[in-house]
């Protein structure tokens, strides 16, 4: 039969299944095919902390959401147009996100009595009216997959494992995704295991052909490429972008990158990615604990490398002591905090932006430290370079904030030319700086002290946590401590002269409300502002990358607008800083549900303020 093709501007698909069903992989492969097609896209992996939660239960459901569009989009979407549910638990967990009229594709074979019970269904939702008002496509994915691979001599269990590829094939057909991208990937991944390749490829094709031939599906959809600036693009996750940004920073500074880290969700991805890049001269060290990881990175910096450590909230608590030492030593050190929901162990796989105040103030004594926050997956690359630039230029530890959402999600990225990336000047000390003497705390015009690396003739010096004077001698002198405290603060404050002003997007020029954001809520804020403007209202938007120091025009910006609204995935941390520093009556919009803001949530909040 001839299938009808309908155009769509944007589509949100959510793949959901058991943790063991391979939904992250399915989503990831769909994303790659979508990226190659030239759609703009944003993704949201959403999975439990348990590696294998009890099969078939609601808390073991793992989901992956993608929005793709023929225009620029900013978020993974609020509500899925299509939910692919591999079992009853996935349907139960995710149905609430789908609005009436949405499409639901289920693996019919999984809706057994036993699975229904495990998911907590008293009756079968495919039959009891639960799904009334939705377009429901029950597809026997498991049994067709098993039939498709039966010639390969796999056990039934092995055969069933490929059902995620069937689902991928079916959805690829529905949205006209290119099959070669997936088949090529399977070839690269399983080329040396022909049986595994054959099974996955057969299941994928079976899913694709099922859509093509069955009468169940009468329509397929087309989403045209999004208009973007010329260039070569790729899809990139925040974790990869951040890791590569660190490598790029080392490259631009001509410093070997030394990454020391202790495994922790969700920062381990950085360690994994960097550990692969040995031929880039990257040294990686899995330390005995978070404290050691920071100490090792700091030691590497003293020795003339670009020392970096990465962790998530619980590790930040442990590194605080070393960060204080780094403030006193005034050595370059970058600390990546991939934030997750806290306190304590909290929700390790769920996102939050709740370490801002920790980054600003989480050390004893007066210990100011620059803070940089990435705002989107691809921006992690730029933010990493910027954090390293500040650390090296100003001889200071820098905290680079990412979060679970940024790390795991992905978006298209125009690949930059390496030659056009910022340069970083390590500017090692090579000789005496005070007559014939070398004074380790004598500062340059940026207030940065010299970085004199062991092995440099004649520049031997001792530094440490005890207060020093310019010569490096220990000093308990009252005036000296006041002066050194002032200088350390001034050095960090002065970085504001060296970073771009805060840009305000106020297209109508008459906005009364400024929405100020930082970090990963960027996409939701942008999308919400667009909706507000489409509704005929004016709103101004600004987004911070530098949290300490704030951009030099920050005070002007936040006092220029009658209302300032600050959405953040915490209990109002940036709002506290803005109110405290600028005496502005900023309002908070907060959320700590482990997931990014929905654009519609923010739209509602902004409209409330705009309409008074």
């Amino acid at each position: 039969m001839t299938k009808q093709v309908e155009q769509r501007d944007h589509v949100v698909i959510r793949f959901a299944g058991d943790s063991g069903d391979g939904m992250q992989l399915t989503g990831d492969r769909f994303t790659s095919a979508t990226a190659v097609l030239g759609n703009d896209l944003a993704t949201l992996p959403d999975f439990p902390a348990e590696i294998r939660a009890p099969a078939g239960t609601v808390h073991g459901v793992s989901a992956f959401q993608i929005q793709f569009a023929s225009q620029e989009i900013m978020t993974p979407g609020d509500h899925p147009d299509v939910l692919v549910a591999m079992n009853p638990a996935a349907l139960k967990a995710e149905l609430k996100l789908v609005e009436k009229g949405g499409t639901i594709v289920v693996n019919q074979d999984a809706f057994t009595q036993r699975n229904l019970e495990k998911a907590g269904y008293g009756s079968n939702p495919l039959q009891d009216g639960t799904l009334d008002g939705y377009h429901v496509y029950p597809v026997p994915m498991t049994s067709i997959t098993v039939r498709a691979v039966e010639e390969l001599g796999l056990s039934r269990k092995e055969a069933e494992r490929s059902k995620n590829m069937f689902a991928l094939g079916l959805v690829s057909w529905m949205y006209g995704r290119p099959v070669e991208v997936t088949l090529n990937w399977l070839e690269a991944k399983f080329g040396d295991k022909p049986q595994v390749y054959d099974a996955n490829a057969a299941a994928f094709k079976a899913g694709y052909n099922f859509g093509e031939t069955t009468e169940l599906f009468s329509v397929r959809y087309e989403v045209k490429p999004a208009p973007v600036a010329p260039g070569t693009y790729r899809n990139i996750s925040g974790a990869a972008a951040l890791a590569w940004g660190l490598v790029a920073a080392g490259n631009r500074a001509q410093l070997p990158l030394f990454y020391a880290s202790y495994p922790i969700t969700p920062a381990s991805e950085l360690l994994h990615e960097l550990s692969r890049l040995k031929n880039f001269g990257v040294l990686t060290l899995q330390a005995e604990d978070e404290i050691a990881a920071a100490g090792i990175a700091l030691g590497a910096s003293f020795a003339g490398h670009l020392g970096v450590t990465g962790t998530s909230g619980p590790g930040m608590d442990l590194k605080a002591e070393t960060l204080g030492l780094a403030v006193a030593l005034e050595l370059p050190l970058v600390v990546v905090d991939v934030q997750r929901a806290g306190p304590s162990t909290g929700m390790p796989t769920k996102t939050e932006q709740s370490d801002l105040l920790l980054s600003m103030f989480g050390r004893h004594g007066e210990s100011p430290m620059p803070v940089v926050a990435a705002r989107s997956p691809s921006h992690c690359f730029d933010a990493a370079i910027e954090a390293c630039r500040i650390a090296v230029t100003y001889r200071t530890p820098v905290i680079l904030l990412s979060d679970t959402f940024l790390g795991n999600s992905s978006e298209p990225w125009r690949i930059p030319e390496v030659d056009e990336l910022p340069t970083i000047d390590a500017n090692f000390a090579s000789g005496p700086n005070a007559g014939q003497e070398f004074m380790p705390y004598l500062r340059d015009d940026r207030l940065a002290r010299p970085w004199a690396v062991p092995g440099t003739p004649g520049l031997r010096h001792r530094i440490g946590g005890l207060e020093k004077d310019e010569s490096g001698a220990i000093s308990y002198d009252a005036e000296n401590h006041q002066r050194m405290t002032d200088l350390r603060a001034a050095k960090v404050a002065r970085i504001a002269e060296d970073v771009p002003e805060l840009e305000v997007d106020d297209p109508d020029g008459d906005a009364e409300v400024l929405v100020l954001g930082w970090g990963s809520s960027y996409g939701s804020i942008q999308a919400a502002a667009r909706r507000v403007r489409e509704a005929g209202r004016s709103v101004a938007v600004a987004h911070l990358v530098h949290l300490n120091p704030f951009p030099r025009n920050m005070g002007d910006v936040v006092t220029r607008y009658p209302s300032v609204l600050i959405p953040e995935m915490n209990m109002g941390q940036l709002a506290l800083l803005v109110r405290g520093r600028y005496l502005v009556d900023a309002r908070s919009v907060t959320k700590v549900e482990g997931l990014p803001f929905f654009a519609e949530e923010l739209e509602t909040e902004i409209m409330k303020v705009v309409d008074g």
């Binding site: 693009y233 050691a292 920071a294 020795a303 031997r460 946590g465």
Partner: protein
């Protein structure tokens, strides 16, 4: 890459002297502290290595021993409590060309920094770790330490400590230390010999130095460090030699069930006397670490307990980088950024 040092790290050194390793800082330990003797011995020994002070780094933690760094005219970091082995691991791994020393104490290394010490030792990072053991917290004015004996009366244990102490040598052996030795603060000759062997070792060299704190724990090691009883109680371990001490009167011999016991030489069959083998199985070294049951108040072994070869941490890491680079070529960042699926928009 930047080569900040302007050379290959092999400074050509003519005639170095103690003065070249002595900083201008005024030494501020309590008068009579054992640390003075250790400092003098280390400063006198360093020239012998022929390594320039510019290529030498001292890293210390917190405690009286932590100040050591300021008194050496080398590169140095006075770090945070217990973390010196971690900081030094970063330095030594990043820069195999440097001569890196850690100075620590019993509280610093065995209490707050225990984790970093054992992991530096198991990794076999190229470090010389000097642990000053005075069996007390000195800088905080006299609390018991993880090496204080049970029953120790201190400010924090007015009724006597109920903690069982660590045996630092046994701990270092248990952590797979490849060089484990002990010496005494006031025995310059013995300490110099131990330092010499530690410096020659490739990998982590752990040296426990019995150090008298004359203010808060005076006399803790008198049985070993003072004349005349020191002569009777020091069991000096010499590679390949029968373990005989007390001017030839006593020895370490194999008793019942293979236990090591201290016996009179004249009452011991010659083939029961233990011959020291620092390269052998760790069980001998471990047993020798336990000849004194209750700390150094009775015959106690000093010298090198164990010395074995194992790959050095930083070198192994550098080798991996080299092998991977040989196989894949030098990483091309532009290619990395463009790896995988890409698409071009004209």
């Amino acid at each position: 890459m930047n080569d900040p040092t302007g050379g290959d790290g092999d400074s050509v050194v003519g005639t170095l002297t103690k003065k070249d390793f002595t900083s201008a800082n005024e030494v501020r330990w309590c008068p009579g502290c054992g640390d003075y003797a250790i400092l003098a011995t280390v400063q006198s020994f360093m020239p012998e290595l022929g390594i320039a002070p510019d290529d030498t780094v001292f890293v210390s933690g917190i405690g009286c021993s932590g100040r050591f760094t300021y008194y050496m005219d080398t590169y140095g970091i006075h770090g945070i409590h217990g973390r010196a082995p971690a900081i030094a691991t970063g330095i030594a791994t990043a820069r195999p060309d440097l001569n890196v020393w850690v100075v620590t104490g019993d509280g610093d290394a065995l209490s707050i920094g225990g984790n970093h010490l054992i992991h530096a030792l198991r990794r076999n990072v190229n470090l010389r770790i000097l642990m000053f053991n005075n069996q007390i917290y000195g800088l905080t004015k006299g609390q018991y330490s993880p090496t204080s004996e049970e029953g120790k009366v201190t400010k924090s244990t007015p009724f006597g400590s109920v903690d069982h102490p660590f045996n630092p040598i046994a701990l270092a052996l248990g952590a797979e230390g490849t060089f484990v030795a002990r010496t005494i603060d006031n025995d310059r000759q013995h300490m110099t010999q131990v330092l010499r062997e530690a410096a020659a070792h490739r990998g982590s060299a752990f040296v426990e130095i019995y150090q008298n704190c004359n203010v808060f724990n005076d006399g803790a090691f008198d049985a070993l460090r003072e004349k005349p009883q020191g002569v009777h109680n020091q069991i000096r371990l010499e590679q390949g030699q029968p373990i005989v001490f007390d001017e030839g009167r006593r020895c370490v011999s194999v008793g019942e069930n293979g236990r090591l016991v201290i016996t009179e030489v004249e009452n011991t069959l010659k083939d029961r006397i233990v011959t020291h083998d620092r390269h052998g199985r760790p069980s001998l070294a471990f047993a020798l670490a336990h000849t004194a049951g209750h700390g150094p108040t009775e015959p106690t072994c000093i010298g090198v307990f164990r010395e074995v070869e194992r790959p050095v941490y930083g070198e192994a890491m550098t080798d991996q980088i080299k092998l991977t680079t040989d196989r894949l070529g030098h990483g091309d960042l532009q290619k990395l950024l463009g790896s995988g699926d890409t698409w071009t928009v004209a």
